[in-house]
């Protein structure tokens, strides 16, 4: 644990990264305690007599086109945001890391196949591929998660591949091979622990990116469907009521911005501290 201390100290010096960390922490807490924090738990109940009200003391962020409290819906929306990001990144890790490890460690025809397939995925803009997948399947949050996972795993396989490949020829791996350790054992007990750090950094940055793409899918109608309180979807609904209902469009977008910003700042800070080689200089 002692060897981690300088990291922590250096990380704490990066004020933006610390701010990002606290925003993420806050987001998680809000998602967990949503029913206690939201002014109302009736986030799906249509109440036309109160529709499109500007922010007041009763509805702090106003109401939407169905008369629902925007603040409460945004608080519940944090749950969707976190679920999408965590599952999509988790699934990408689950696909990408083993493939990258195997491809990097063995370096045979199978690695070639994996490398070429990831190349193809990485050479098409992620959003377009995700839209195509999500549009063909029935649009829903599940489809959005699936589309995001299918399009994000190559980032991990590529990253892990490069690391595993350079580790393969190191002395300590050679030594474990000489001791007669089996390949799966070497991969999981000796190679994997050495690639965990870049994986963590990539996941953090990927979270922000995934949240942004998920909101875009929601906005385009291929992600969350009404009456879900997902933020991107809320913005799509709000567009119909401009310019009158500015609050309807302002707050959900602000939430997306803040959260993505937090993940980016946290990820950047983490990278600078843990793996300074990856940083863009002078930052």
């Amino acid at each position: 644990m002692i060897s981690y201390m300088p990291w922590v100290r250096q990380f704490l010096r990066d004020r933006l990264a610390v701010l990002g960390f606290f925003i993420i922490l806050l987001l998680i807490l809000v998602a967990i305690f949503a029913p206690y924090l939201a002014p109302t738990t009736a986030i799906y109940d249509v109440n036309l007599s109160e529709r499109l009200q500007p922010p007041t003391s009763k509805h702090l962020l106003g109401t939407d086109s169905q008369g629902r409290d925007i603040l409460s819906r945004m608080i519940y929306g944090t749950r969707i945001t976190i679920i999408i990001a965590v599952i999509a990144i988790g699934a990408s890790l689950f696909i990408g890391v083993p493939l990258g490890l195997i491809a990097g460690y063995f370096g045979n025809w199978f690695s070639e196949v994996i490398q070429r397939v990831s190349d193809i995925f990485l050479s098409i803009p992620q959003l377009i591929l995700a839209i195509a997948i999500a549009a063909v399947l029935k649009p829903s949050i599940t489809t959005a998660i699936l589309a995001l996972s299918i399009t994000y795993w190559p980032w991990f396989s590529r990253l892990v591949y490069a690391q595993a490949r350079s580790l393969r020829i190191t002395t300590f791996i050679e030594a474990t091979q000489a001791l007669g350790a089996s390949s799966p054992r070497i991969i999981f007990f000796h190679v994997l622990p050495n690639v965990i750090t870049p994986i963590i950094i990539r996941s953090t940055i990927g979270m922000g990116y995934t949240i942004l793409t998920a909101a875009t899918l929601g906005f385009l109608g291929v992600g969350a469907q009404p009456p879900s309180p997902e933020w991107g979807l809320a913005l799509a609904e709000a567009r119909e009521y401009l310019p009158k209902a500015w609050w309807f469009a302002l707050f959900p977008g602000l939430a997306i911005f803040t959260v993505v910003l937090a993940f980016n700042m946290f990820g950047d800070g983490l990278r600078d501290v843990i793996d300074p080689r990856l940083r863009i200089s002078g930052k």
């Binding site: 933006l16 070429r116 050479s123 377009i128 195509a132 549009a135 875009t216 385009l220 500015w246």
Partner: protein, 336 residues
């Protein structure tokens, strides 16, 4: 000769990507929807109508025949009929391409023209307030959802200040003879200042919305590139030899510093195509992206497939261009 080999190598690199895109397209759009004929026929078709349609579209044939037919049609430029406009998808894409091209080009060129000098400027004034200000802008620019930025820009500059139009390419009623389909160019060629001014006004908000992340990326990587180059040993050597700072910067640092942003520009072309879907939807911009956004909601599969293939090709071409630009800046790329 070296250059020819390099260019050929780069072109060959894209062939497997395009081929797989075409194959993925086939499987995604012809196999996953349980019954594509049902979708075409609509919910009220009789079983007999469905059967006729099946024969008409060739869905009764074995898979490899279907795939061959799909390939033949693709290479003849036939992407099928769009369900929501009832016109050939290829025609829709070609007609709308100039609008998207104009928007994307202005956003990218604007970002490059502003971003590279600014990136150099802030790198040379590292850690003063300008640097911090633009660091905040670049971090923010990459985290902002373009649809939200677009909507906020419409609210403020369009509705509140009533300064700029909130959508479309040109005010209806202003005559403009189409030549290239790029309105700015057309009005210049037709010596039409009114159309030029009007279409430029329509471009400002969508171009800024689409361009902000590009701008942010370019500033960030130019700054990083310059700072990296300034730290390198050959620059230290030049400094020690007493070479004046302007010569050091303009002659020796910039060339090495620019490779990082140029690689990014290649990737940004792909981002611009994807971003066009959202930005064109927000600003009712009559381009390919807007067509794609509508097709998504209408479950217009052949249109979505057509758009996906179209953007794959456009993206590969863009990357190819940036590869060539990179080789011009850094000849080492060619001999690698």
């Amino acid at each position: 000769m070296k250059w020819l080999v390099y260019a050929l190598k780069r072109i060959l690199y894209f062939i497997p990507i395009l081929v797989s895109l075409i194959v993925i397209g086939f499987f995604l759009f012809y196999l996953i929807p349980a019954d594509p004929v049902r979708l075409i026929a609509g919910p009220f078709a009789t079983p007999q109508q469905v059967e006729t349609l099946k024969q008409q579209y060739g869905f009764d044939k074995p898979l490899y025949i279907q795939f061959l037919r799909y390939l033949t049609r693709f290479f003849h430029g036939d992407l099928g009929l769009s369900i929501h406009t009832h016109r050939p998808v290829m025609m829709e894409l070609i007609e709308r391409a100039p609008a998207t091209f104009e928007l994307g080009l202005i956003s990218l060129i604007g970002s490059i023209l502003l971003g590279i000098p600014l990136g150099i400027f802030v790198a040379l004034r590292r850690n003063n307030w300008v640097d911090h200000l633009f660091r905040a802008i670049t971090i923010g620019g990459l985290a902002i959802a373009s649809f939200w930025l677009g909507i906020m820009a419409q609210l403020y500059f369009g509705y509140h200040l009533d300064l700029l139009p909130i959508g479309g390419r040109i005010t209806p009623g202003i005559p403009l003879k189409p030549i290239t389909g790029l309105f700015l160019l057309d009005s210049l060629l037709g010596l039409n200042p009114r159309a030029l001014f009007d279409s430029f006004k329509h471009l400002i908000l969508p171009a800024i919305t689409l361009g902000l992340p590009c701008f942010a990326t370019i500033v960030r990587f130019t700054r990083g590139g310059v700072l990296d180059a300034m730290k390198s040993e050959y620059v230290l050597y030049e400094q020690a030899m007493g070479l004046p700072r302007p010569i050091r910067i303009y002659k020796y640092i910039l060339r090495n510093a620019l490779t990082a942003p140029v690689v990014q520009i290649g990737l940004l072309i792909g981002y611009t195509i994807a971003g066009a879907i959202v930005v064109e939807k927000v600003f009712a911009w009559p381009g390919v992206g807007n067509f794609a956004a509508t097709s998504i909601i209408m479950f217009d599969y052949s249109a979505i497939l057509g758009f996906t293939l179209w953007s794959g090709i456009a993206f590969c071409l863009g990357t190819l261009l940036s590869d060539i630009a990179l080789a011009l800046i850094d000849p080492r790329e060619v001999s690698r």
